[in-house]
């Protein structure tokens, strides 16, 4: 999905809130393929992937 942030600075946490996602159920967030912390700002024109809690095997 594409999301227009209207030029605002937004953190990963803010983005999750905007999407209605519970942070406690989010496992990994990548911004342009890099794992990001929730307090990092989301840059313009980036690709964000949000994954649930995951367990590797």
């Amino acid at each position: 999905m594409e999301l227009d942030l209207e030029g605002c600075d937004i953190s990963v946490a803010d983005l999750l809130a905007r999407l209605g996602l519970d942070p406690s159920e989010v496992g990994i967030v990548t911004v342009d393929r890099r794992q990001s912390s929730f307090d990092e700002l989301v840059p313009a024109n980036c690709r964000v992937c949000i994954f649930p809690l995951l367990s590797g095997g």
Partner: protein
């Protein structure tokens, strides 16, 4: 609980009492140890660390965890251990299925196989109640593990658990694992890593059959404490967004992580040449679930009785015929993207062959990737890899080279891009993009083993692409995992006990009444690692073995174009605080 000694020199068996250990002293005696911890202690006490792994002085040990055989969910993993022919050091590999639970219910603290039969013939071991029989099994020579289990269950009963080796183990190949049957359709669980299937083959043991029917429940020192703690444990797993019915682990198994690892650029592709696979979307967990359900297969099934997580699947073909139980992440990586193969059907077929031949799909996949780089197969061409796997099963010269694993294959075939640490193939997380795993691969006494300390997904703690902080993260994971591996708990069941160590202490005290505290548990974890490190040191492993392959320190991995750059000095110092 007692120990069963199986002497293959004289083809004799005997029950042996376990000497009580002094209180709060897990380093002395075997009583307060289980699973991985017990294996470490037995090896350190009884096996010359410089012995030949496939010789008479090595021992092959089967040990349930401390909590195995109880009603605790997800506690039935079976630990198998010995000196590894692959790494030259200590090895504990564990598998799901019913083996751990059955051994515990039979009152077996450890099954220790010693010596070698002089006549070179194969045998089967049957355990039922107090009866332990060592019988000929030469007629099973050359059978894959599926047929071996079928023959054994035909003879001893359909409900028996069968632990066996395939052709790879018979040929003493270092990529050979030990296969164990499990719950219902989960008929092929594998203690895959480190070549323990070859050790079992070197002992002339084709199969172990466990019949735990009629065994009584294990005693509990404090039934109320144990049952209350076990109920809380199960409740937390069921209610967890990770492991509950709507959690990714239950719905997709570990295939759930394909998308994330690929996005992070750590998904090994075409012999670890890049970290992102163009066809990864075909391999996502959601795709596996869709296909499986469309075709009438199963998802969300348990490999062991009583597990509430139930992360397994039965992958079927277009006609609904079972191909393999269970198709999981590591195999999707090493037999999929690593070979340039982007369809689940083809990966499942390769998976089945590995299971049947008794091959570690990680080691085999890495060896096949090396072979493809050498031009012996074509990336993306499943049939070319099927041919190589069949060579392994046939014991041809080429098959014997590949069956010894990726490191030997690389040396013989003249390939320098060989993804191994301590001689063992790397799992499906490229360490250049997930550096915490690189630290685990390099430093763990187990060699390149992601289950020894998987840094994937440690939430926001450490940047996987940065060198900083990886050793601390890996050490904590390595310590915590010793507890799981020693209690029989599945890795996926870790959240409740990692979140609250007192819960683990309560479970242990409820079972045994040892009066442990959290501090005792922390000391226990350190003791296990120290025993393993000591064995490896005596076996001759040095800091030179605790390294990434050189090419990974200079060849950038796309898409991030990073190398493994955690300083050697940090790797060398990781255990200094133990």
């Amino acid at each position: 609980m007692k120990i069963i000694r199986v002497n293959m020199d004289h083809l004799e068996t005997r029950w042996e009492p376990v000497l009580p250990a002094p209180a709060l002293s897990p380093a002395e005696g075997y009583e307060r140890l289980g699973g991985r911890a017990l294996i470490a202690k037995i090896l350190l006490t009884e096996v010359p660390p410089q012995c030949e792994p496939l010789g008479p002085n090595n021992k092959l040990i089967f040990a349930p965890g401390l909590l195995g055989g109880t009603s605790l969910s997800s506690s039935g993993r079976l630990s198998i251990g010995g000196k590894s022919p692959l790494t030259g050091g200590i090895k504990e590999a564990n598998c799901g299925g019913n083996g751990g639970s059955d051994l515990a219910r039979l009152g077996v603290k450890a099954l220790v196989v010693e010596g070698q039969p002089a006549d070179g013939k194969l045998h089967q071991l049957h355990i039922s109640g107090e009866t332990v029989e060592l019988l000929p099994a030469e007629e099973w020579r050359g059978l894959g593990t599926y047929d071996t289990a079928a023959k054994a269950q035909e003879r001893w009963g359909a409900d028996c658990t069968v632990i066996s080796i395939g052709q790879a183990g018979e040929f003493l190949m270092s990529a050979a694992g030990v296969v164990c049957t499990g719950h219902r359709e989960q008929n092929s669980r594998i203690a895959a890593r480190g070549g323990l299937g070859a050790v079992m083959g070197s002992k002339g043991l084709k199969a172990i059959v466990l019949d735990s029917a009629g065994t009584a429940a294990l005693p509990l020192a404090d039934p109320k404490l144990f049952r209350t703690s076990a109920r809380r444990f199960a409740k937390e797993l069921i209610e967890s967004p990770r492991t509950g019915r709507k959690g990714a682990t239950h719905m997709y198994g570990t295939s759930a992580i394909v998308a994330a690892v690929n996005e992070m650029g750590a998904f090994p592709t075409r012999n670890f040449s890049t970290g992102s696979f163009e066809a990864a979307e075909n391999l996502y967990g959601q795709r596996l679930r869709e296909i499986t359900l469309e075709r009438g297969g199963k998802v969300g099934t348990a490999c062991m009785r009583g597990c509430v997580i139930a992360c397994c699947n039965m992958f079927v073909d277009e006609n609904g015929k079972p191909i393999v139980s269970t198709l999981q992440y590591e195999t999707i990586g090493l037999l999929g993207s690593n070979l340039g193969i982007g369809t689940l059907d083809e990966i499942a077929h390769l998976n089945r062959l590995c299971n049947d031949f008794g091959l570690d799909s990680i080691e085999a996949g890495a060896a096949l990737g090396v072979a493809a780089e050498a031009g012996l197969a074509r990336f993306g061409d499943k049939n070319s890899f099927v041919s190589l796997l069949e060579e392994i099963a046939a014991g041809s010269v080429l098959g014997r080279v590949l069956g010894q694993g990726a490191a030997v294959a690389g040396r013989v075939l003249g390939v320098s891009r060989v993804p191994v640490a301590k001689g063992q193939a790397m799992p499906a997380y490229d360490p250049r993009a997930l550096k915490g795993n690189g630290v685990t691969y390099a430093t763990s006494p187990m060699g390149a083993d992601h289950t020894a300390g998987n840094a994937f997904g440690i939430r926001q703690a450490v940047d996987p692409l940065a060198a900083a902080g990886q050793c601390e993260a890996s050490l904590k994971l390595q310590l915590d995992v010793t507890m799981l591996d020693s209690t029989g708990l599945c890795l996926f069941a870790r959240p409740p006990v990692f979140g609250d160590p007192q819960l683990m202490v309560d479970l242990i005290n409820g079972r045994f009444g040892w009066g442990w505290s959290v501090a005792d548990l922390e000391e226990f974890k350190k003791t296990v690692l120290k025993m393993e490190l000591e064995f490896n040191e005596q076996a001759g492993l040095t800091s030179a073995d605790a390294r990434m392959p050189e090419y990974m320190t200079r060849e950038p991995l796309p898409p991030h174009n990073t190398v493994f750059d955690v300083p050697d000095a940090e790797l060398d110092a990781i255990f200094s605080a133990l």
